[in-house]
């Protein structure tokens, strides 16, 4: 989230699209309701009339996978009716920038941007660049009239998204589309603000990144970024998925979003040179210009004193992928299926249920020599060798299942969706022989290291040199019990030498060896500081020689009244609660909306004769407001040009979002392009060619599979269900898999509530009871009646033990993903339905279905 949960109360309009917080983030609705109580509008756009929809002031149905058409129409509506926040757009976005004169758009080229090659399915992005002056600064037209400025390109590109076309693609009734547009557009005024809440409903598409970009453009046009009650807010689905991402548990990033080095970057210097953005814009902060300090401090954290200037701070010890090599989720299971891996750690996850193409994942696990699962409960992945249709004798994989303890049996921090890192304390010792994940990691590190120390082996340096100073050691040298506070200290970072400010005379000591660094501004690229994750610098503080864990704080002060609670726990970066908050003030530092001032520049002078400065939230950088001579800075500090990017030349599939049909689409044509039906950067033909490998199977045969399938979560279960299906209270409330369908489709198929049906896709099939409900309604798309069916994805064969829960919907979901973020397209695919049994199923009892009907 750019903002945070409590901040939802500050919005005038809350759009929920691609999410269902009332079911999946239930307590967040408290803050949505607070907003509604003072007259704000909640809008829900979703294929299904969800629990959130039931609380909404306005609900609009949409065909799954057509969000860009819907939002493209909104951009067209805002621009053509001049409902934009012009001052904001001119000052704080790239709207005035001039793009390369040869740049062409899908309207000119029949569905693709300039630079596309049919042969490689890739773009040459040469013509997507900005025109620059002799200093390298983009040329701009503040009147926004130049035909090649981003604003005019936006206007032209989205003029194709007329209301009739939007309706024809999305299936949303026209009056609903217009009502949504009107409500959101109302926030173009400085004193009105809209926010958006999205989740997997936007990301799990072959145009996932562009879905989110589309609304980011809307928020920039309306001047809603950086505002209290504004922003673009991803509702993250796991307690600490924000933190696990911050800490680099993805192949392409180290901690703090530092890119993972690739083979061609042969030295630390080369890494820093290639990956540090430079800017020619003097008013830009260009925060990523600090990359060298962060990567060097990371290496110092990981390799300590063994990381020296002479050995390039141990840079060679960080493993590297080949340039362009994908080691992402889908690639891992595709490779595993082909037998590439001997070993596999499955830690706190259940991919046999939770992965797209779950059927192939289950087969892939059988190709492993050994697997280690670490979890609180046995689940469908750990026990894949005894799953449905599997003969254990045929499975040669050795499996270790290590019992992890629960979150109340250990201490540590987790970061919520609003980036607030909160400390959890240990209430009891781990139950039985279970251990904390930290202790299991400690054991594995020690034992592997011992083997290398004793017997040697391939390239032991990164293992034996790893810092692991996390508490008292036993006689063998093993850390007895891993002290998590010490890990938090390493993440925050230390001065590794006495550091002096050499500009002072005499040089002044700024940090003493062994002291915590105050924040990431203190980090250096000369090996004198360490920090395991620069974003978390400042999560610990040193006061009077004592370490204070800021994540433990419980202060309830709220000086702004906006719910920032700056003394409650700690938010990254540097306890800032609203990211890009400098965009909430005008170039003189006065809030655009004084009644919701996240930030305000106080020009009055203090005793030292300097302006008192920023008041409110922690500003995005200490520089004075933009209009301040020489020192003023632009608000979007992470962007090299300092402004919000409506034009996105860094993406692989186009600098502006364009509608393409999902890989499996129920209609014959993409109304935006005759030639390119699906995202053209996904090599459609190559997928077809690999159809002989069943892990890639998909089908756009809408005669064979005429209905749109989509997946979602239930309030009572969590993710793959491995932690909630064993919980009797929750299983009683939602005992089994089901498929929701509209009454029209059910009547057509002769299906009644509770009848058993089999849902079929190109990947496989799944039997479960039907839930016939008006929550789903057929939609008219291109003159054709389209039915969307919905299925939750928490169920699996292992719990409940009698198999009555059914199995995972991911057995049906395609194994293709977004070309930028590589997320599978789980939210829009094609299915067929067959009724298999007339009678009501024995479980759940009739009573359990009451209240879910109709």
């Amino acid at each position: 989230m750019t903002n945070h949960w409590i901040d939802l109360k500050n919005a005038d309009v809350i759009l929920v699209m691609g999410a269902n917080p009332a079911a999946n983030h239930p307590i967040s609705m408290k803050w949505v309701t607070r907003a509604q109580e003072r007259g704000s509008k909640l809008i829900c756009v979703d294929p299904r009339f969800t629990q959130t929809a039931s609380k909404a002031d306005l609900y609009a149905p949409i065909r799954s996978g057509t969000d860009i058409a819907f939002l493209g129409g909104l951009i067209h509506y805002l621009i053509s009716n001049d409902l934009i926040f012009r001052d904001y757009v001119v000052e704080y976005t790239d709207a005035p920038f001039l793009v390369h004169p040869d740049f062409k758009m899908p309207g000119d080229l029949g569905g693709v941007f300039s630079g596309y090659s049919d042969e490689t399915s890739k773009y040459d992005r040469k013509t997507w660049a900005f025109q620059v002056d002799e200093k390298g600064v983009p040329r701009r037209d503040p009147t926004l009239r130049a035909p090649n400025c981003v604003f005019q390109l936006l206007k032209k590109h989205y003029s194709r998204y007329t209301i009739d076309k939007v309706v024809d693609i999305t299936g949303t009734p026209k009056e609903k589309v217009l009502a949504v547009y009107e409500a959101i557009a109302s926030t173009h005024k400085p004193d009105r603000v809209a926010t958006v809440c999205y989740a997997m409903g936007w990301t799990q598409h072959t145009v996932g990144v562009q879905n989110i970009r589309a609304f980011s453009i809307v928020q920039l046009l309306l001047g809603n970024m950086g505002m209290a009650g504004g922003g673009v807010n991803a509702l993250r689905g796991e307690g600490n998925v924000q933190g696990s991402t911050d800490h680099g548990l993805l192949f392409h990033i180290l901690t703090g979003y530092l890119p993972s080095p690739v083979a061609s970057m042969d030295s630390l210097k080369d890494y820093i040179t290639k990956l540090t953005p430079r800017t020619s814009e003097p008013r830009s902060v260009n925060w990523w210009g600090n990359r060298g300090k962060y990567i060097t401090s990371y290496l110092k954290a990981v390799y300590g004193e063994k990381a020296t200037k002479e050995n390039d701070y141990g840079y060679a010890w960080i493993p590297k992928v080949d340039d362009g090599m994908k080691a992402s989720w889908l690639a891992i299971f595709a490779k595993m299926y082909l037998g590439s891996f001997d070993g596999f750690f499955c830690w706190g996850m259940n991919p046999a249920n939770s992965s797209a193409g779950a059927g192939k994942v289950r087969e892939a696990l059988g190709k492993l020599k050994w697997m280690v699962a670490v979890d609180m409960f046995d689940h469908e992945t750990a026990s894949f060798w005894r799953g449905p249709g599997v003969n254990p004798k045929d499975i040669k994989t050795e499996v270790f299942l290590l019992p992890a303890c629960s979150s109340v049996e250990k201490e540590g921090s987790i970061s919520n969706s609003g980036r607030v890192a909160q400390w959890r304390y240990k209430a009891i010792e781990p139950i039985g022989q279970s251990k904390s994940d930290a202790d299991i990691l400690n054991e594995l590190h020690f034992r592997v290291k011992s083997l290398y120390l004793k017997g040697g082996g391939k390239f032991a340096d990164p293992i034996v040199n790893l810092t692991w100073d996390y508490g008292e050691k036993d006689a063998s040298g093993k850390v007895k019990h891993l002290d998590v506070q010490k890990v938090a200290g390493e993440i925050n970072g230390y001065y590794t030498e006495d550091v002096y400010d050499q500009t002072a005379n005499p040089p002044k000591l700024v940090g003493k060896r062994g002291d915590l660094v105050t924040n990431f501004v203190s980090l250096r690229d000369d090996g004198t500081t360490s920090s395991g994750n620069w974003l978390y610098c400042g999560s610990l503080a040193q006061k009077d020689g004592k370490i204070v864990n800021q994540m433990e704080r419980r202060g309830k002060e709220d000086a702004t009244g906006l719910g920032l609670y700056p003394n409650w726990a700690w938010a990254w970066p540097v306890n800032r609660r609203v990211i890009y908050n400098r965009a909430s003030v005008d170039p003189n530092g006065n809030p655009w909306d004084p009644k919701r001032a996240v930030l305000k520049w106080n020009a009055a002078l203090n005793d030292a004769g300097k302006p008192i400065g920023w008041q409110g939230d922690i500003p995005d950088g200490p520089a004075p407001p933009l209009a301040t001579e020489k020192e003023g800075k632009l608000p979007f500090i992470m962007k090299p040009l300092g402004v919000g990017s409506m034009f996105g030349p860094g993406l692989g599939d186009g600098p502006l979002p364009e509608h393409y049909e999902p890989m499996e689409s129920p209609v014959p044509a993409n109304l935006m392009s005759k030639k390119y039906r699906v995202n053209p950067t996904i090599p459609f033909e190559k997928f077809q060619a690999q159809a002989k490998d069943p892990s890639f199977l998909f089908s756009s045969d809408f005669k064979k599979y005429p209905y749109v399938g989509t997946t979602y979560r239930l309030a009572e279960h969590w993710q793959s269900g491995s932690m909630t299906r064993p919980v009797a209270w929750l299983l009683e409330m939602q005992p089994q898999m089901f498929v929701e369908m509209d009454p029209d489709l059910a009547a057509q198929k002769g299906i009644r509530n509770g009848d058993m049906v089999t849902v079929i896709t190109a990947r496989g099939q799944l039997s479960c009871p039907a839930l016939v409900t008006v929550r789903l309604q057929p939609m008219m798309v291109q003159g054709k009646k389209i039915h969307v069916i919905g299925m939750p994805w928490h169920f699996g064969w292992q719990h409940p033990a009698d198999g009555s829960g059914g199995d995972s919907v991911n057995l049906l979901v395609p194994f293709v993903g977004d070309p930028n973020a590589l997320i599978p397209e789980s939210k829009a695919f094609l299915v067929n339905l067959v009724k298999t049994a007339e009678k009501r199923t024995p479980t759940p009892p009739k009573k359990a279905l009451q209240g879910r009907e109709g």
Binding site: T120, V321, D342, W347, D375, F400, P403, V408, A427, I431
Partner: protein, 213 residues
Amino acid sequence: MEINRREFMKTSAAAGAAFVSGLGFDVSAAQTYAKALRIKGAKVTTSICCFCSVGCGLLVHTSAGKVINIEGDPEHPISEGSLCAKGSSIYQVVNNPLRVTKPRYRAPGAAAWKEVEWDWALDQIARRLKDTRDRTFKTTVTSMSREQKAADAGEEALLFPDLVTDKARDFVVNRTDGIAHIGSAALDNEECYLTQKLMRSWGVVHIEHQARL
């Protein structure tokens, strides 16, 4: 004082039944008493819900080393004491007969789990890891020359590397392609940090988790 859980359930169920049956007398005193009994003398530890990412506050009541109650933390500024169905059920996540409480091992071809000792399991894993790592370790990879790349378009393009130089040459990678790791957003920050640190020290690059889904 400790109260047997079953007795508590009976007490509260009785109080609840009286309340909903509308008998017309005030049950709030009985409810307060029941609540006081449940957690009387218990130690309170604050925590944060392990499920979705709202980050609601928990009060964990413990007695004699056992969790006896978990409820919403009224002081928490986001959740203000509220919890959803899942958050309200964490008591049963902790105290659950289905929890795995001892390491298990499944041998190749075996039809059942076997309970094993931690020491044995960890040593076995460490050995498997070292064997696989040593056998599959790549010190360098060789880039493709532009000529080779031009000649080699096609089927493998999906997973194929993009390491192309004017002339083929070696690059240091120091990795294993024989081991993959997934997980986990269910871990604490400090554990996530340790996980990436440890996996990368072993040369593992196939590291992914829930955030990609």
